[in-house]
Symmetry: C2
Subunit: 342 residues, 2 copies
């Protein structure tokens, strides 16, 4: 694949800009009874939400078929889109408690400011809002997609927590993990939106698959960036997944290509052991060394190749949909995802 002209994400999101504004408004509508000092904290939290890729996907998937009724169906799609983003935000808040992470997207996390209990509750409040927004779609199939996705995400996080530092996991486990972590919510957004748009079953399935494939590629790219990014753009030093014992696709390729994989594992094991005993400096040094070796190897290229395969499938999922501005944006999103790795 040749590198495309840089995709401007602002342009890609243009067709759903008006919808995204409604989603923002919807997300900011909290219960009026909410304890006042918390309301503003929540608004900040919800406001720090990056590109709103997940709600954009829901809006695009609902519109691309051309069957959406603007007054009857659209408000439900907006509720769905807000629900999906709210669920995403809730998991990020709890991730902070689980990881003890102090920085996310460059800003101090809630956990660093509030105490642990308040952070758990803040995440729960966002879960509750997400559930309420899903219920607003008034569509039991959509609500079932929502609650199943929540189960998949949490189950995946439990797996990840207990699979830490486990070198015996295979690539299939990695795929299952990133499906649970990222792709499940992407495809919930596109599937549920297609359901709300009244799309026929085969179209719902293709749009679901599009979300799945885009989501898988998106997470692989995120995992690549954790090795190739610099601390400034990542908001944390490179190799943070590895430092936390989370093994990702580039590392699997690195190990596979390595002449002495056992040696790499032994080095890491030793570093983790020392970190557990309170000396983190060895772990930091070893991870920095492995990040450098991995960058110099072909592991990044191999991982990117897998992302590109998922994106090719995502494009194919759109083949039979009508040509319109939404489809153009959905195709452009595929280019955008991989572009971040160059």
């Amino acid at each position: 694949m040749t590198v495309n002209t840089a995709v401007d994400i602002g342009k890609v999101l243009q067709p759903v800009q008006a919808g995204l504004r409604l989603v923002e408004e919807k997300m900011r509508t909290l219960e009026t009874s909410l304890f006042a000092p918390l309301a503003s904290a929540f608004i900040d939290l919800i406001g720090s939400g990056g590109k709103r890729l997940r709600p954009a996907l829901a809006l695009m998937a609902a519109e691309v078929t051309g069957g959406l009724h603007p007054t009857a169906d659209y408000p439900r799609v907006v509720s769905l889109a807000a629900s999906v983003e709210m669920l995403h935000t809730a998991t990020l808040v709890h991730d902070d408690v689980i990881d003890g992470a102090l920085l996310r997207r460059g800003a101090p996390t809630l956990n660093a400011i509030w105490n642990r209990g308040a952070t758990v509750l803040a995440g729960n409040y966002l879960f509750a809002r997400a559930a309420a927004l899903a219920a607003e779609t008034d569509n039991t199939r959509v609500i079932q997609i929502f609650s199943n996705t929540l189960e998949i995400i949490v189950d995946g996080e439990l797996h990840q927590l207990f699979a830490r530092n486990n070198y015996h996991q295979d690539k299939e486990e990695y795929y299952q993990r990133i499906y649970a972590k990222t792709a499940s919510l992407f495809c919930a957004a596109t599937e549920a939106a297609a359901v709300l748009a009244g799309s026929p079953a085969p179209v719902v399935e293709q749009l679901k698959q599009y979300g799945y494939n885009l989501g898988m590629a998106f997470q692989i790219v995120d995992d690549i960036l954790d090795f190739t990014g610099d601390a400034d753009s990542l908001g944390k030093p490179a190799g943070s997944d590895l430092r936390q014992g989370t093994l990702t696709l580039p590392f699997f390729h690195f190990i596979q290509q390595h002449p002495q994989p056992d040696q790499v594992v032994a080095r890491m094991d030793d570093a983790y052991r020392q970190a557990e005993d309170g000396d983190e400096s060895t772990l930091h040094r070893i991870v920095a060394e492995i990040v450098a070796e991995l960058r110099a190897s072909s592991a990044i290229e191999a991982a990117r190749g897998e992302a590109i395969t998922f994106l090719d499938r995502a494009r194919a999922n759109l083949a039979h949909l009508p040509d319109n501005e939404y489809k153009v944006s959905m195709l452009d999103l595929c280019d955008f995802v991989v572009q971040r790795t160059y």
Copy 2:
């Protein structure tokens, strides 16, 4: 009110015993994909669930009107009842993280065995299961009741966390707090069950109010028991609410009747301050003294009087319902709740 003959809770629950068995089965049906070592931990967690009062209320409220269709409607009521209990269990698990409590119902909490991150996720998994069970009712009104209740509960916990050690709160705030903490889920159970049974609006409202009034009384009684119980039956020393800075109805009455309320507040404030500085022994001593003074005062009797008022209202809510074994049990439950305080 004279003390009734002791109510046998086993007998009270007899009419819904078969339904409660289905609820247990439903609650134990976890996703087969769940990480195996976790599945058994969850089963233990779900299994330690006391009397199943909340699901019993749902089953009774659905049956009392006599309109339930055994094959069409009953499985949905079972899903609702399981959802309500699962939500309750989820909040207990997170409470352990929030409070840092190490004992609940006499057994070590998950938090004492697992690490904090796993406990947060375990609670989330139970929330997700609760949402999925609510979605199984296939009734959007029921799902909306469920998600609204989740918001009320979490909002209430946030209030409670931030209102700790606040002597300026009034009784209205206490009522709002115990509504959020306990009565909201009791009345969600009875309201949603009545909806599933196809009851007319006024009946739904009366059953909802019954759940509310019973729930308010139940929590007031729990708060009384925290002062009057002994460490063995409570699974924790008496006065634990006060020790955590959570002010409850008996304490409000105690302060109101006290000749020098400012002195009590000053003693508590001093004890909290010392506890914050690392010396918990003063707090333990002062709380033990206040517990003894409060028991000797008429505060318990005054608080019990308020519980009885709620129970009288709960009985009145049932006045126009047909006389059957479910109604008898719902009336007996009112006696059971207050009986625990004698």
